[in-house]
């Protein structure tokens, strides 16, 4: 375990070189918050509630989603990892007594930790801008549950991204797949619009998939909505993590045999 903590530490350390880029990047997801602000203000002109949410709740929903989204850093790591496989630099994971999955997870968490500092700053700015419109957490309990589920969502996302990166062993270039993946996840996780606006049967199906719990449910829990779904959500997430973890290990041991280490 200590070796993976050191992996996380070195990930944080190497991030510090890119302070400027990280700072700028932290405001990116919040651009969507401004778009949402103008869109929903218009839609709310003659209504006070939509899908069980008031306008300040809706705005808060987008801010919380953007916050969670910013902390998910494994997406960018896929490019790095797949590049290492494609260009033959993956060797460094093979020759050392270290698991690439552990490496991926902790490098990703290291990045998340570092981005947290800047993202909190960005959220602070956004809250100041929308003063009076931002709703605080419904209760301490709902905040804790929201954080816990969001963290599990982060782990699922890391595993999914690791699986995507592994595909580079077989298909060499995975750009298209990864972009498609990102867009689908954005929709399914409720980052684009609250899933409560979708038909009931669709929501019913989505409850069995992890995406529902990545942003939508944590943001809803934060607002004090859907608290009765929290424990089912925890169960679903834990099951998905176990399944994806097993699949990742299985595929890695099959795919690494395809590795030819080009370029030397």
């Amino acid at each position: 375990m200590r070796k993976y903590l050191e992996v996380g530490k070195i990930s944080v350390k190497s991030q510090i070189t890119y302070r400027f880029d990280v700072l700028i990047g932290c405001f990116m997801p919040f651009i969507r918050v401004f778009l949402a602000y103008f869109l929903w203000r218009t839609l709310f002109t003659d209504k006070t509630e939509m899908g069980g949410m008031t306008f300040p709740m809706m705005l808060t929903y987008y801010i919380v989603c953007a916050f969670i989204q910013r902390l998910e850093q494994s997406n960018g790591l896929v490019w790095e990892f797949a590049g290492e496989i494609r260009e033959g630099r993956f060797t460094k994971y093979l020759v050392k007594p270290v698991s690439p999955l552990g490496h991926f997870v902790f490098t990703s968490l290291g990045k998340t930790l570092y981005h947290l500092v800047f993202t909190v700053l960005a959220v602070g700015c956004v809250i100041l801008i929308f003063k009076g419109q931002f709703v605080g957490p419904a209760s301490a309990g709902s905040l804790i549950l929201a954080l816990l589920i969001a963290f599990l969502g982060l782990l699922v996302m890391i595993l999914l991204n690791y699986l995507t990166a592994l595909l580079a062993f077989k298909f060499t270039d995975i750009t298209g797949w990864h972009l498609l993946n990102g867009n689908v996840v954005d929709f399914l996780s409720g980052a684009l619009l609250p899933l409560s606006l979708l038909p009931d049967w669709m929501q019913g199906v989505m409850r069995y998939f992890p995406f529902y719990y990545m942003q939508f449910l944590p943001a809803s829990l934060y607002l004090g909505l859907r608290t009765q779904e929290a424990f089912f959500g925890l169960l679903v997430m834990v099951i998905w993590i176990i399944v994806l973890w097993g699949l990742a290990e299985f595929l890695y041991h099959r795919f690494r045999r395809l590795y030819e280490e080009v370029g030397a």
Partner: protein, 330 residues
Amino acid sequence: MNTVIQTKGLTKVFKRVEKEDGLKGTLKALFKRVIVEKTALDHFDFQVEQGELLGLIGPNGAGKTTLVKLLCGIIQPSAGEAQVLGFTPGKLKDGFRRSYAVVMGQKSQLWWDLPASDTFLLNKEIYGIPDDIYKQNIAYFSDIFGVRDLLSVPVRNLSLGERMKMELMAALLHNPKILFLDEPTIGLDAIAQKQIRLFLKEVNETKGVTIMLTSHYMEDIKHLCKRTVVINGGKKVYDGNLDALLSSFQEHRIITVSFECECQPQLDLPVEWLEKSPLKSVLMVRRELVKPVIQSLLTHYEVNDIRIEEEDIGGVIERIYTAGKEGIPL
């Protein structure tokens, strides 16, 4: 003696997708893939004893790097088997990975944006190196290389030679039993090359690390390795003492003559004139003709000085490779 590396019929066949040039060829390749097989290593048998410093030479694409990759378990053999320290490399058992290290001149394990010491710390945790051994090794290696004050400089600010020293340090911190080196001196200047050579010799002698080295620079091999394996076209063409090999392929001698007065030397023997100036001539002759050529020069001209040298090593190596390719026994 203890055998640490052993291969039997080790073979690696790579599959490549071949594509015709031009847009048409690219479109064709999209629907129909032409797979071409290339044998990079062909029934390779050899063994290495503990504490050896073995050189592996051969032209580009001969299979040197493929052999190193197979022995490290990075790639899987197509046929045959390899045993390294009693392990099958391709299984990548943790115990195996703890007991060797590999340094590839073209690839880096150092974190680019961080000082080398951060990579060392990471390796300390990954290999579970105890504190005292870690400190001892850092002190030992940084003293031999004289890089103590470079440990805290970000890797991207180091020179190529300094970086290679750091690579070697990073690889050796966990006291590996075997060190695989693929072109460790590539692109380095003569001084850095020499330092690295001395370092490898020291590590081999004092720490007893078995070293297997591939290099394009004959100097590396000549200075370091008692035993050399020549490989060409995926096959072993020579295994033994480098000096013996070189002398059997030294077909020519270079003779430099300087004269007392200006003259135009002529010889009716088959010689190749490399330089002809009024007071000095340089000529290349076959070894068995050295004696008659010198006799003739001494009798016909006022000779001031004669120097006889061995032929340039590059030419010799070229001949060894060609012989290997044609299947002539060395």
